[in-house]
């Protein structure tokens, strides 16, 4: 059996990739996808833990997370579209009116 730590390390790597994506990429869509990646890495951890602990709570959680992620995407896209309307761009750097 593959040890738990392998899963955890994998998910940690995924999570880190997600963070780097969020912080590094300027395209809001990509940022959003990176966030999804982070959520999915969490899902992976949940499932792994669930399997190793032998209870189902974690697996149930994963379903909820998927639903929430979908909802978040809906709202997020709407806002990104709105951003595009104003700036004719979806670069995160363009949203820089509010500062200081």
């Amino acid at each position: 059996m593959i040890p738990l730590n392998y899963y955890l390390i994998l998910s940690g790597i995924l999570f880190t990739i997600g963070i780097i994506g969020v912080l590094y990429r300027r395209n809001t869509l990509i940022i959003f996808m990176s966030i999804e990646l982070m959520l999915n890495s969490a899902n992976l951890t949940f499932v792994a833990f669930s399997r190793f602990l032998g209870n189902l709570d974690g697996q149930i959680f994963v379903f909820f997370v998927m639903v929430v992620a979908a909802a978040e995407v809906v709202v997020g896209l709407a806002i990104i579209v709105n951003l595009y309307r104003h700036h004719k761009s979806i670069s995160a750097d363009r949203a820089n009116l509010l500062k200081w």
Binding site: I31, A92, D93, N96
Partner: protein
């Protein structure tokens, strides 16, 4: 005896009536109220004297308390009056001279717009002065002490539109305050030592608690003397008195000659027991008094303003009184105080009469040969001049001679010689004044010449009365004959303790010695008069030549040794500059600077910190992520 408070009350009532109701009166009524208030006080004083004389001499010290004034813990001040011979002498002198001067001022101030104000102040002054001399404790005395200082301030600055007058008033008050500083601290010492400020208690306890020469008592008496130097214009605090001549002349006569300035002497006489316990202080007092007598006389030699000459003369004469106290002859000091009150008040009133006639002129170089047109003024002035110069049988002779005699008897030989030199100078400058102003050629401006006139009876009467007193005032204390020392005998219960402590022998001295010394002083006085006569009648060019020959000395004397300037430079200016520096460097720069600086630096930090909110969402994310990393590191390691 219960009704002694009336002595203080009447002048105060006069002050109140004139102060509040004067708009209903005309000038005559105002003057009448003011003068009669003093007159009544004088009468009450006489009645009290009669009652006091009914007691046996040892019992002539009656304390009447009215109410508990300040009570804080064990410290209790009972306000009340102490009636004893010393008080009575002072009360009668003060109220008597004041009464005369009030009458005089009634006419003298006639034309002044501040007529009412003048009498209000004057009445207040008298009531304060009487409080001072009648008080039964240091603190109440201090009330009078500062109260007369206040009135002096107000009256010196009476013509407040003149800058010189208001400056002089302020100067007088502040210099007096410096003296009061000493008085206050002396009171603290006494209060903490004896737990009371009551005269009787303090003077009773002091010899029991302390030996002669005790440091504490020395400190207290020296500090008290600081107070006296302020009030009685002694070195180094005499500087206010010459300037005080800015006030109206009756004021100079009353306050700055007869009464207030002698308060210091009175106070020392009152504290004779304490001084007797502190021989060192007595020495200091004697030296300062003697030095002042000579020093002030030297300045009087060359002054040309009549009142200023008199002012320096006053300082000098008080110096003699202080000298008297300093050698332990308190009675002599008081005696001189009394006679001085008569003749110096008279001199000032004469000066007033002259300036009245000359439309306010006081420069003696613009006078001369007045004796014909102003016979009464002339005669009375001469009487006073003889008195102050110490010519027998005028009052000043007896008193000054007693002071000098006692000085000699207490083996202060140097002081005695200095005193004689002072007496020489006194005779000289007084007769210089007399000769220049009343004799010789007239230097009066021609248009004024016509207007010279004798004053009316209201001004003349006080002159005459005081003139007579200057003559006979000394006869209550005659030398040689023990029985004829009426004043001394009367006062002796007061100074009894002091004499006991200092073990001063009242043994009879050789009549020959006394006679010889007396003759010596007479010779000295005569010499002074002679020199003056030489200088100013016989050979009027001589003084000028002398002045040119000793130009430096002359200038030094004429400018009063530059003491005012030195004080200004050494004390006043530096303090003022210090406050300016403090204001800018400490108040504004350091304190306010640090207060505002804290605010400003916080604002600065705020200005920097707000820049961290850059507006870039990913930067925010980065900060949050780094925060998370730090948190993790913190928690896990």
């Amino acid at each position: 005896m219960k009704y002694v408070w009336l002595i203080v009350f009447f002048p105060f009532l006069g002050f109140l009536i004139n102060g509040f109701l004067s708009k209903f009166f005309n000038k005559k009524v105002v003057a009448f109220i003011a003068a009669s208030a003093i007159g009544l006080a004088f009468l009450c004083g006489l009645v009290t004297l009669v009652k006091l004389l009914a007691y046996p001499p040892e019992a002539r010290s009656i304390e009447i308390t009215f109410y508990s004034w300040i009570k804080a813990g064990g410290f209790n001040i009972e306000a009340g009056f102490l009636i004893d011979p010393l008080t009575m002498v002072m009360v009668l002198v003060v109220s008597g001279v004041s009464f005369l001067i009030h009458i005089y001022a009634g006419e003298y101030m006639e034309e002044d717009p501040g007529y009412v104000r003048f009498f209000v102040y004057l009445n207040l002054f008298v009531s304060m002065m009487l409080t001072l001399v009648m008080a039964n404790n240091f603190l109440l005395m201090f009330v009078g002490w500062e109260g007369v200082g206040l009135c002096s301030y107000l009256l010196i600055g009476f013509w407040f539109e003149k800058d010189s007058a208001s400056n002089a008033g302020k100067k007088a008050f502040i210099v007096n305050r410096i003296g009061d500083f000493g008085f206050l601290i002396a009171m603290f010492i006494i209060a903490t030592t004896f737990h009371t400020l009551n005269f009787k208690v303090v003077f009773e306890k002091a010899p029991q608690m302390f030996q002669v020469g005790s440091g504490l008592i020395t400190a207290a008496t020296l500090l008290l003397f600081v107070g006296a130097t302020g009030k009685s214009a002694q070195i180094p605090l005499y500087v206010w008195l010459p300037d005080a001549m800015e006030g109206p002349t009756p004021v100079s006569a009353l306050i700055h000659a007869a009464t207030m300035v002698t308060a210091g002497v009175y106070m020392m006489a009152r504290c004779s027991v304490l001084y007797a316990l502190a021989p060192f202080s007595l020495g200091v007092v004697a030296v300062i008094g003697c030095l002042t007598a000579v020093y002030a006389a030297s300045m009087a030699l060359v002054q040309v303003d009549m009142k200023r000459v008199l002012a320096y003369s006053t300082i000098s004469q008080i110096g003699y009184m202080v000298l008297g106290c300093g050698v332990g002859a308190f009675a002599a000091g008081i005696f001189h105080l009394m006679t001085h009150a008569f003749f110096k008040a008279l001199l000032f009133l004469c000066a007033g009469s002259v300036s009245h006639a000359l439309a306010g002129e006081l420069d003696i170089r613009k006078m001369g040969n007045l004796h014909k047109k102003m016979p009464i003024t002339h005669i009375t002035f001469l009487s006073a001049t003889l008195a102050i110069s110490g010519i027998i049988p005028f009052a000043g002779f007896f008193s000054k001679d007693e002071v000098l005699f006692e000085t000699f008897m207490s083996h202060h030989n140097v002081l005695y010689i200095l005193g004689l030199i002072g007496a020489l100078m006194t005779a000289f400058y007084m007769f210089r004044l007399y000769f220049i102003a009343f004799r010789g050629e007239s230097h009066v401006e021609p248009e004024l010449e016509k207007h010279i006139h004798e004053p009316s009876w209201r001004m003349a009467l006080p002159l005459c009365v005081l003139g007579v007193l200057s003559l006979i005032g000394g006869w209550i204390q005659l030398p040689f004959f023990h029985n004829l020392k009426i004043l001394g005998g009367f006062l002796s219960p007061v100074f009894h303790h002091a004499h006991e402590i200092s073990k001063m022998e009242e043994a009879s001295v050789s009549v020959w010695l006394e006679g010889a010394l007396m003759t010596l002083s007479l010779i000295v006085a005569g010499l002074g008069i002679l020199i003056a006569y030489k200088f100013y009648i016989k050979n009027p060019e001589l003084p000028k030549r002398l002045g040119e020959k000793f130009a430096g000395l002359y200038k030094l004397l004429f400018n009063k040794y530059y003491v005012d300037e030195i004080y200004q430079m050494v004390v006043v200016k530096p303090l003022y500059n210090l406050s300016e520096i403090l204001s800018i460097a400490v108040d504004q720069a350091v304190i306010d600077g640090s207060v505002n600086g804290t605010g400003r630096s916080l604002m600065g930090v705020g200005g920097v910190l707000r820049r961290t909110t850059t507006g870039y969402v990913q930067f925010y994310g980065l900060v949050m992520f780094l925060g998370a990393v730090i948190l993790l590191l913190w928690n896990l390691f």
